[in-house]
Symmetry: C2
């Protein structure tokens, strides 16, 4: 059933600011001013600001039927309690769903932010016609969300889809949670820059971090720099290793890749596809689409709102 006529609010709760949009289906029909998290001293004050924004949006754009909020941390699916938000202290073990329902009287969905982004891609983006997808965001770290039969896979403790913590080397670099060879420790923005500095140093060329941002390396590769091209090959090898493990276990119809590093385009996607083709059986590889993400930064708002729209059981006449 289409929910495209339902107006829902999507809230993207980031480490530095909260972004709010009103959506109908994939369209963001209005956005509120960003709310900087640091201006608020804890959950109660910040949530009051969010609710005030929602009320303003409602006055201007009509009734909001439900609210979805994507958070950078663990979500207990049943209760909507949240834990361990990245870069946002003071929210541990917080009953976000209950409090937002109390403050608004509306149905509320709380979801991990990467799952919300994956849902946006599944529902309206690059994964629209698929049952099962895995969506990644490549940036400071590696985020991921898994959609199985059209629903975000949350898992036993809300940590499903943490692709950045997958191991690509049982003797490798140690990730934030102790995993040897955690993918994120190889291909976060910072780690790619460090790898590049070493590679250039090997040929006697001194580079600094700002010369080695993924964007600069992409520009260098496009300009014919052989080392820069090799770096993208290395990134593809690391990422392809983790993705082949995902395919062997989940066998999704599509892997959808977004975030800053994905902007390298073919420089990343071409060697990545080659790597996957070499790591999978022909049948499996032929059944796996590797696609750039359709949405950019707005995926969190759209996905959260889309999940919220699903919660509206009393569908008003369209």
């Amino acid at each position: 059933m289409s929910t495209n006529h339902i107006t829902s609010a999507g809230i993207d709760f980031g480490g530095t600011s909260v972004k709010i949009g009103l959506c109908r289906g994939p369209e963001i029909i209005a956005t509120a001013e960003r709310i900087p998290t640091e201006e608020h001293d804890g959950p109660s004050s910040l949530l009051d600001a969010i609710v005030a924004s929602l009320k303003e949006l409602e006055i201007e754009h009509g009734e909001i039927f439900s609210i979805g909020i994507g958070v950078p941390g663990l979500v207990e699916a049943d209760t909507g309690f949240i834990h361990g938000l990245t870069n946002v202290p003071g929210w541990d073990n917080y009953p976000l769903r209950r409090i937002l329902i109390e403050k608004t009287g509306l149905p509320v969905v709380v979801e991990n932010d990467a799952n919300a982004m994956a849902y946006a891609e599944w529902k309206y983006g690059a994964g629209q016609d698929k049952n099962n997808i895995v969506a990644l965001t490549l940036g400071t770290g590696v985020g991921g969300g898994v959609i199985i039969n059209g629903k975000p896979l949350r898992g036993a403790t809300g940590t499903a889809g943490e692709v950045g913590q997958m191991s690509i080397d049982f003797q490798g670099k140690v990730g934030n949670y102790g995993t040897h060879g955690a993918l994120e420790k190889y291909m976060g923005n910072q780690e790619i820059a460090e790898h590049a500095i070493v590679k250039y140093a090997d040929i006697g060329e001194a580079k600094k971090v700002k010369d080695c941002s993924p964007r600069r390396i992409a520009e260098a590769a496009q300009g014919g720099d052989e080392i820069a091209r090799q770096i993208w090959g290395d990134v593809a090898s690391w990422l392809g290793t983790a993705l082949s493990s995902i395919v062997w276990v989940i066998n999704p119809e599509a892997i959808i890749i977004g975030g800053g590093i994905a902007k390298a385009g073919d420089l990343l996607f071409d060697p990545l596809k080659q790597k996957l083709a070499s790591q999978l059986s022909t049948v499996t590889w032929n059944g796996t689409d590797v696609l750039p993400a359709h949405f950019g930064n707005e995926a969190g708002i759209i996905g959260s709102a889309a999940l919220a729209a699903e919660e509206v059981t009393q569908v008003p006449a369209s």
Copy 2:
């Protein structure tokens, strides 16, 4: 709804023989004589023998309501076509489901054998009270099945759950389908034996393959052999690396481990749990049960029959 009153046939289609049992719920109420695959010259003859066995069982034990068959290869979920059976030539692109329905007039479920085993563990075994589990069989190779919300995860091309092909080292040994660091290339029976021979040679002790079967290594470890204990530590490190990747992506409530190598018991499970605890966040590890399989060789029959029982929509009065 319980299906324990429905009599279904479970067929475990192995590389050397076909095993058939009649089940009600987790109970195998009767088994037929094993049918050696090599005695039959292709699908038609073998299927006739299977159908004859089923008819005999039915005469002796009453009506069979449905048939489930687990095969060692790829299964197209919608059509029941099978592909690439391990060690069984002549079945490629074979419409197994349709042919068995034609020959018996009964509902037929065709499933990958590891998925059928995982389903048995979920429905009646170690994973009974869980939504999502991953079940492994450790033997010649590493087989696996994933159950999500009580259903086998088949994936886009029927290759979900191929845990043995997951990578634990992006520069590692190459698996059967080209994956660098494929888990199976480290901890199949044969590979463990080869690893043991090298480890003993390093201390000047010559060993042969027959001294280094997983059972012998377990006996040696139990007898206080330090090298043997280290070998189990290595196995736990390899397996734990792949399992931590599974947990980071799927976050199942339980990982269930069976097969010959799992018979090492605490020698394997203790270091494996230590490894997983060190590779996962506390919340995630606390939410992950690591359990020995409840069923042994009979899991394939029970799981296939259980899947078949679910297909009986006209449930007879119990």
